[in-house]
């Protein structure tokens, strides 16, 4: 019995003293969480913001990054930027990175000069980046690979640092708030945290200092900057707005069904709650017939 109580005591003690020092990773950064129209339970995308975000993608990011799991037609769909179909058709037809058209009827895949055969993109085609493959991309980018951005907003997250109880508290907070915006929060922080390296920091060749990037050295040159703000159709726009809008656009690109999912989610929750109340009343009626 002694052994057991001391074991139980050991476990209880363990619970009390399991104050693990913060894990000493080389990278520490407090990601600043942003307000997103699509955050939380009622959130929905703002189609104007998605349109502005697409403009940033087209003018800046598309120079290096593809968006290949998004098709042009998605830009027309409900719950997205909802551009008019005619303008997207035109956009696709003029998109510089064209789909391959070979082999043609003669079996040729390239023209006489050796250029691969291509054709203008249609609504049903993916939004291609400038490079045919990773090898070409790396060759053009100093050996670094600009990842396809179609699911990047789901492939990145802001981590919950802290001692174990802080860790659990933060987890609980995120579940309670329905927090799923780690991806866009990360992208926003990445885009806005380029800085001069601190004294003594040895920056690798062709790399840039970024406070939000794990390891702090990123091959991507700052794509947005306060000196070179992208102006929107209304002539307005700031650096921060640029960063917000592209992050929101990438969140949509990774999760185009969010509007529909959240709207249906409420109907389902309401249905479940009402059904639970009714089932409970029924169950009580049945059990009231007998002592229990």
């Amino acid at each position: 019995m002694k052994i057991i109580s001391s074991l139980a005591a050991a476990a209880a003690l363990a619970a009390a003293v399991l104050v693990v020092p913060v894990h000493a990773e080389e990278h520490h950064f407090e990601y600043e969480r942003q307000k997103w129209t699509f955050g939380g339970f009622w959130g929905q995308y703002d189609k104007d913001q998605l349109q502005r975000g697409f403009q940033i993608y087209q003018q800046v990011c598309a120079n290096c990054h593809g968006l290949s799991r998004v098709n042009f037609r998605n830009l027309v769909q409900k719950g997205g930027p909802e551009f008019p179909e005619a303008s997207v058709k035109e956009l696709a037809a003029n998109w510089p990175n064209k789909p391959l058209a070979g082999p043609n009827d003669d079996g040729a895949i390239a023209d006489k000069k050796g250029n691969l055969l291509t054709r203008p993109a249609l609504l049903s085609d993916p939004i291609l980046g400038p490079y045919r493959n990773d090898k070409e991309a790396k060759a053009a980018q100093n050996g670094a690979l600009p990842p396809d951005l179609s699911v990047i907003a789901k492939a990145r997250d802001v981590h919950n640092d802290g001692i174990w109880y802080v860790h659990f508290a933060k987890m609980g907070r995120d579940v309670f708030n329905g927090y799923q915006e780690g991806g866009p929060d990360y992208i926003f922080n990445l885009l806005t945290n380029y800085a001069e390296p601190p004294a003594g920091f040895k920056l690798g060749d062709g790399l840039n200092y970024n406070k939000a990037f794990p390891g702090n050295q990123i091959a991507m040159v700052p794509p947005l900057s306060a000196d070179n703000v992208i102006k929107y159709a209304d002539g307005k726009g700031t650096f921060e707005e640029n960063a917000h809008d592209i992050s929101a656009f990438l969140a949509w690109a990774a999760d185009p069904a969010l509007n529909e999912r959240k709207a249906m989610g409420w109907q389902v929750m309401l249905y479940l709650l009402i059904t639970c109340v009714l089932l409970y009343a029924g169950k009580k009626q049945v059990w009231n017939r007998i002592p229990h």
Binding site: I4, R69, K154, F168, G178, C276, P291
Partner: protein, 429 residues
């Protein structure tokens, strides 16, 4: 509980049918008239919830398989295609992914329920052991399924776990490597691996289904345990399954559906890992390779042991030890309600499992390693020290004379049965 049937066919057709294949009678006796203890609490609704989870996984999984492509070049994009282009694919896919987590949540509650109320004791040993087999089959299915989206965690998780077999090289040189190559169908995790994993992931749930039928059969032979751990000794101790247990089970299931739907609709990715949205790349190892949350305690045990073979043995033992629980526990009394010391061991054990889960998610470095060793010791101490020793030393508190008495708080007509009926020894029926 078998033998006497209360089914009465109502029409000529059903009578005719009953004489030829009494399947309706079987269903009636098993799920309508079946006597259930009247004092079951909501922890007893998890068996039914698990059946729901299994069926939900089968239905969503079969739909996903209609669109999924088990090919190393196409798998990742085919999942994206399901979520983006397939009608309601954005709903089916997270139902299956979140469903796996909810399935494990339910099964862990179900197992802890069994541990707390001593449901593994005679005459329910076979029922319990079938449960352990189900758990093993579920784990295999979950692991195989997680490789299918072919993201970074899929690929590296599959690599790390299959590689565990190479520890057998320490027993017979070359044996482990040979097994790993055989499992992979090549010299690394690749297309051949993905194909066979898909095939097995589709197969195993049907094996689970078969095991569940045996599990429920065994349950209906032994009868359900209940919070007092007492046997049903008189008709008043039990109520017919329909409508009593059924109304309760259905209500419990709908309550369970609320967090289920919450995750599916509002946080479909929260239970997974962001790295799995990066397509598998054999040349880039992710900084932290972590399994799904429901494997974390076992992963912590694996890494707590300094030797690779030792770690594998410890991890496998951590699950297989459940098979021996009916004989490791020496107590006469089933339910922790009447076991003042073992009750605390139970809660310490539950805490140990949570702590191991946390440690499994942390990187393999100090101080986590030391803590993982301490909790691994406590994990096994529960089974190998607490169960046998406390059972002998502990004085159980006073048991009610019958289920009915525990419900009414005063003696019912006990029909001359002894209170010792709570003992785990098989009773003559």
């Amino acid at each position: 509980m078998s033998g006497h049937s209360t089914y009465e066919p109502k029409s000529n057709v059903s009578k005719w049918f009953d004489e030829r294949l009494p399947v309706v009678r079987l269903m009636h006796d098993s799920f309508v008239a079946f006597p259930t203890p009247r004092n079951l609490n909501y922890l007893w609704t998890f068996g039914g919830i698990l059946v729901f989870c299994l069926v939900a996984q089968l239905v969503t999984g079969i739909i996903l398989a209609m669109h999924y492509v088990p090919n190393d070049q196409m798998a990742f994009n085919s999942v994206q295609h399901i979520k983006r282009d397939v009608n309601y694919g954005w709903l089916i896919q997270p139902m299956h992914a979140v469903g796996a987590s909810m399935f494990f949540l339910a099964v862990y509650i179900h197992i802890f329920r069994g541990l707390y109320y001593g449901s593994y004791k005679a005459p329910r040993e076979v029922l319990w052991i079938l449960g352990v087999f189900i758990l093993l089959a579920m784990m295999a299915t979950g692991f195989l399924g997680y490789t299918l989206p072919w993201g970074q965690m899929s690929f590296w998780g599959a690599t790390v776990i299959t590689n565990l077999f190479s520890s057998l090289d320490g027993v017979i040189p070359g044996l482990g490597t040979a097994i790993v190559t055989w499992l992979w169908g090549g010299f690394s995790v690749g297309n051949a691996t993905l194909n066979r994993f898909f095939s097995l992931h589709y197969l195993l749930p049907f094996v689970i289904f078969g095991l569940v039928i045996l599990h429920v059969w065994a349950l209906h032979v032994a009868g359900q345990n209940n919070p007092t751990g007492l046997e049903i000794k008189q008709p008043a101790d039990a109520v017919p399954m329909y409508p009593y247990a059924v109304t309760k089970d259905v209500f419990g299931m709908f309550v369970f559906l609320i967090p289920f739907a919450y995750f599916v609709f509002f946080m479909p990715d929260w239970l997974g890992h962001a790295d799995n949205y990066t397509p598998a790349d054999p040349l880039v190892t992710p900084p932290h390779i972590v399994p799904e949350w429901y494997f974390l305690p076992f992963y912590a045990i694996l890494r707590a042991i300094p030797s690779k073979l030792g770690g594998v043995i410890a991890m496998v033992s951590a699950i297989v030890i459940l098979v021996f629980v009916p004989w490791l526990d020496t107590s006469r009394v089933r339910s922790c309600k009447y076991r003042p010391i073992f009750k605390w061991c139970f809660w310490a054990f539950a805490f140990t499992c949570l702590a191991l889960g946390y440690l499994g998610a942390m990187p393999a470095e100090e101080p986590y390693i030391t803590w993982a060793r301490i909790f691994t010791f406590l994990y096994f101490a529960f089974f190998l020290l607490a169960m046998p020793i406390v059972g002998i030393l502990e004085t159980p508190s006073k048991l009610p004379r019958s289920i009915m008495e525990s419900v009414l708080g005063k003696p019912g007509s006990t029909g001359g049965h002894m209170p010792a009926g709570a003992s785990a020894a098989p009773e003559k029926r």
